[in-house]
Symmetry: C2
Subunit: 502 residues, 2 copies
């Protein structure tokens, strides 16, 4: 047994090292890599993926893990080793269900599909991308037959990102959300304030945007010696290890709201990564997030619950004004607070406001499920997309670039991923509600720009569990109940009805 325990830790350590290497290869590709390095880079990434996959699904590792998972063995294991052995067993058995040959086929298909998607988006021609997306949908269906969970085929896809989540559950939550969000939106867009609304279109130099972003990540306790902020086309977070977490933003839109809020969003992901269990669980399968929804709850928490809150701006707005005197002259705190929370149905998900954001995601979820059920075909997507957009947000994209071609996810085969954005958003509101209950001094702390207690509360109640519990279990333990969209809707009503005086 000692031999098996040693073996599984040694292998997990190496897998964790591979994972850090893969993260660096990807990060550099998106940030600094000269354009022509792309071909060799994709070979480097696929070599590391293959080696890691071979290691993870190797018979020897599996046999050791199986040995530790025998009932007699489990009984004798220390708590820690038991948790690791159980988790590892589940992960490996799932991985081993998928043939390597399929993984390679999927990887080749998506590598090409991603390039074609970029081109199709550039040229605004969905028909270029359609045949590749068709192949991907077929591969997703094939994947589901390998995993073969009970219930809806799409559950197999959901499970990769949100363990245990089901279509049934989501359909229930999302129907509620959809009708409520549409009703709130309807009420707001009928308001006088909305009718007269002018969107903030201030422009800040890149230098000023940088200053603001650097300032806020320091305030949020992102440690300089364990994290950094760089620039990429699309903001993201990645980890090279427990002590090396990178986030990115983009200063191209001269409107500072994008770089600021995306930086806070990614900082939330990064703080989670930095808070994952290190001591005894470092370099084990436990030191990771149990779900993307929970991960997203951390980014949305800081982005929406904190950084779109009025108390937050009592602290930050003077600093913001300090950096951008001219641009913000004549804009008082109330007006600024209104600017950063303006509701406006728009086409691009990543630029959507807090209220309409989830409708963008629900649209994608409904399309993915329908594709998996064969109820719609890929060729119908642009039309279906635009109809749904009109139904949910009352607007119709002028072209596919601002419609069905906007997100890269499908080109990468990430089906089942979008719903985690809503799950995380709902979780974030539940966490904030709980935190207010527990910390009566919360708003004062936020007004003072003091985020110590908030971060420690998140570490204590979310981060430190890693994968010792599922996302659902962690939220239940912390908030007293699992996913509950009503909390989110109540929060939105409180905030936005006041803002639009309806």
């Amino acid at each position: 047994m000692k031999e098996s325990i040693d073996y599984i830790y040694k292998e997990q350590k190496e897998l964790s090292t591979f994972s850090g290497i893969g993260a660096l290869l990807g990060w550099d590709q998106m940030t600094y890599m000269p354009q022509k390095g792309g071909i060799e880079r994709s070979e480097q990434i696929s070599l590391i993926s293959r080696l890691a996959h071979e290691k993870f699904t190797a018979d020897e590792l599996y046999n050791h893990v199986k040995k530790l998972n025998e009932i007699d063995a489990l009984k004798k294991l220390e708590q820690k080793d038991k948790a690791v052995a159980l988790r590892l067993m589940k992960d490996i058995e799932k991985s081993r269900k998928v043939p390597s040959e399929f993984v390679e086929r999927m990887s080749k298909t998506t590598t090409i599909a991603y390039m074609v998607w970029q081109d199709a988006r550039e040229k605004n021609e969905f028909s270029l991308f359609a045949p590749h997306l068709e192949k991907i949908v077929e591969l997703e269906k094939e994947y589901c037959t390998y995993i073969n969970l009970p219930g809806h085929a799409y559950n197999n896809l959901l499970d990769d990102y949100e363990e245990g989540m089901t279509v049934d559950r989501l359909v229930k939550e999302f129907s509620f959300l959809k009708s409520e969000l549409k009703a709130i939106l309807e009420k707001i867009t009928s308001s006088d304030i909305y009718q007269k609304q002018q969107l903030f279109d201030g422009k800040f130099s890149e230098e000023k945007q940088r200053k603001i972003c650097d300032f806020i990540i320091e305030k949020l306790h992102l440690p300089k010696n364990r994290a950094r902020l760089d620039v990429s086309t699309h903001p993201f977070t990645t980890s090279m290890g427990n002590d090396d977490v990178r986030i990115t933003t983009n200063y191209e839109r001269e409107n500072p709201l994008f770089s600021f809020f995306s930086t806070v969003h990614e900082a939330g992901h990064a703080l989670y990564e930095l808070g994952l269990p290190r001591d005894e669980y470092k370099d084990t399968v436990i030191s990771d997030s149990p779900s993307l929804g929970l991960h997203e709850s951390q980014s949305r928490f800081w982005e929406n619950m904190i950084a779109r809150d009025k108390h937050f701006w009592k602290f930050l707005y003077p600093e913001f004004q300090n950096i951008a005197k001219d641009e913000l002259s004549g804009i008082d705190l109330d007006t600024w607070y209104y600017y950063i929370n303006q509701v406006e149905p728009s086409f691009i998900r990543v630029e959507a406001d807090e209220l309409t954001y989830c409708l963008h995601v629900i649209l994608r979820f409904e399309i993915e499920v329908a594709l998996m059920e064969g109820k719609i075909s890929v060729s119908e997507l642009p039309q279906v997309w635009n109809e749904k957009m009109h139904d949910l947000l009352g607007i119709t994209p002028k072209n596919d670039k601002e419609g069905v071609l906007q997100d890269m996810h499908w080109s990468g085969g990430s089906f089942g991923y979008f719903p985690t954005y809503v799950i995380g958003t709902v979780y974030s509101s539940q966490l904030f509600k709980q935190l207010i209950n527990e910390n009566t001094n919360l708003y004062t702390e936020i007004e003072q720009g003091n985020f110590n207690n908030i971060l420690n509360w998140l570490i204590e109640n979310i981060h430190r569990y890693g994968r010792l519990l599922t996302a659902d279990e962690i939220i239940k333990k912390t908030c007293g109940e699992g996913l509950n969209s009503k909390v989110f809707i109540d929060y939105l009503k409180d905030k936005y009805y006041a803002l639009y005086e309806v």
Copy 2:
């Protein structure tokens, strides 16, 4: 035979991919990595090194290579496959002489030694570093017993960087160089101009230094889509692949000469990397430099032969002045040319002028050989260093930080490496002499900032060979003779006697 040929190309391809991954891990460590990421990074680097080493020394690869190296097989091979098989055989047989266990021991020792060296340098305490250096010297001696080339033990170390080079040969060249350089230096320091000399100490903002460096690398045809310039403590060049070469510089010294000349120097290395054979020899053991001396000849060529030449500044000085009007006001071209070529014995090798630079290197060579011969011990090093410094340059370091502790090379086990700096310097003067003979329009082109023909000449006569020939063979083919220090001395005399009017 077909099977063996396919096998060796497949393996070389993967080795080349590993090499690119390793390069990125190292580059990031020196440029962007948050400080605390260091421990995990060293694990990532050593995992990749180990996998690459295992692959390169594997029995299966060796057996295939041996098969191709049988006389009957060699005869049937195409020219290209033959070159690859021969080169590979030599490299693998050398690698297989060294036990993996030794490689690991060396790697662990140098990882610790490097950290201790940093600390010892910081604290200016050689005694902290001494025990680690002693271990390394013992390991170097052990290494020589594995390689076991004929002649002086130190030949085994030289051979890793400069294939075929021997102590005998270097002692001959270096004795000549030493006495000539000392004589020139003596003549210069006795001159009236030297006696009245004031060193340039202009300070440029980082932004201006950046502008100048960005300008010059573009002028030197370093392609933006295949290369980039970043910042690190010590400037270096590295390749993630044939289409992704990175150089670094450092703007901390506000004197712009350091960032400018180091950028040109590294650009020379990068242009060589970008010019290595790609088409048929890409991802083979041929697509690399045959020696560090030849590599250094390319950096020194651009740094000294071109960028310290007066014709070059006829083109660049107006641009320089444009970027830094105030800092250069009142400094005319002649004065500037004199500033950038001032001779001044100093303690730090990487900041030495063109004339005294080689004396710094000869000092290290003599110490390394004496250490290997057991004629001096590690504990005597500070004293020996200072005595030699006084003998060669007439100055004595105030402390070990500006003496024996200044370079990182020994802490990394890089014995036998220093001489390549002199070899490259001498080669660069030989190449320049040859180029002048072949291109009568050369100085006009340089004055016009037109480096096309120069770069193409280097590609044609140096880069494109890769490792099809040894450095010695390439220089002989291009310049009509091998390493010849007299060419370098003649060049120095011409230039510096004129400058100092002696």
